[in-house]
């Protein structure tokens, strides 16, 4: 899971994706999912549908149960040059949490925060984390 914004590139599961070449599957098999997966298998990725209990609790694993936000220490974040000098954007305010249901099936959980804002943000249910990340991003932009 990788994405590029106007000033940074983020990989959300870097070690798992690029070193271990593992990809965690979130949905039950459908024809279209299987078809799309074949393409990445051809490119060298291995698809797993669950992780073991040790990894679920391993705080160094990006697949572990817990809170995440874009640009957190588990992300591989690369700053892009040149600086386009856009007005500040707050991508790193987006947070979510990774959980596993009773069948060890992984899922991402968030609430949407939209009201009164120009853009919609994802927020982990532990909302108080949110403003701290916004401040962090502003500081970053001033550098």
């Amino acid at each position: 899971m990788n994405l590029i914004t106007h000033n940074k590139a983020y990989s959300v599961f870097p070690r798992e994706t690029f070193e271990e070449r593992r990809s965690l599957v979130y949905v039950r098999d459908t024809d279209s999912a299987v078809q799309a997966r074949t393409k990445y298998e051809r490119r060298g990725w291995r698809f797993i549908t669950e992780i073991d209990a040790d990894e679920m609790q391993d705080s160094t694993s990006a697949f572990a149960d817990g809170s995440r936000h874009l640009g957190d220490s588990k992300c591989w974040t690369i700053g892009l040059q040149p600086d386009l000098e856009f007005s500040p954007k707050f991508w790193e305010a987006n947070s979510w949490s990774m959980h596993y249901n009773v069948d060890s099936h992984p899922m991402h959980i968030w609430s949407l925060i939209q009201r009164g804002l120009y853009f919609t943000y994802l927020s982990d249910t532990s909302l108080w984390l949110w403003p701290a990340h916004v401040k962090y991003e502003e500081t970053d932009d001033e550098q």
Binding site: M1, N2, A9, T17, S23, Y26, V27, R37
Partner: protein, 115 residues
Amino acid sequence: MIVSGSTALEFFDRTKYADADLDLYVDHHYRQPIILWLKSIGYTFMPHPSIGPQSLDTVLNEIPRPTSPAMYPGAMLVLDFLRPNSRSRIQLITSSASPLELVLSFHSSERLCQS
């Protein structure tokens, strides 16, 4: 707007895939400047036969019913753009809320996309 899919994977992995599209994700409300910019640099909208909007006017001016194919749960529109004499395709995926939501809710931790 964010770039995801094969292009973002290529960027991190320092590889190049022959069959890679450029996948752009944008909040549906803010699709207009992106579409007009793609048009200004020579890309043409290629409607899907019988599914989704059939013209750029419709895309830009009407409030669509979500036509997201099974591959893109939660997408409002999936629009293909091509440039003459080039095989590279740009796919613009518009989200009803956050584009990041679409990326995170994809099939797996490595985003899968339709080629």
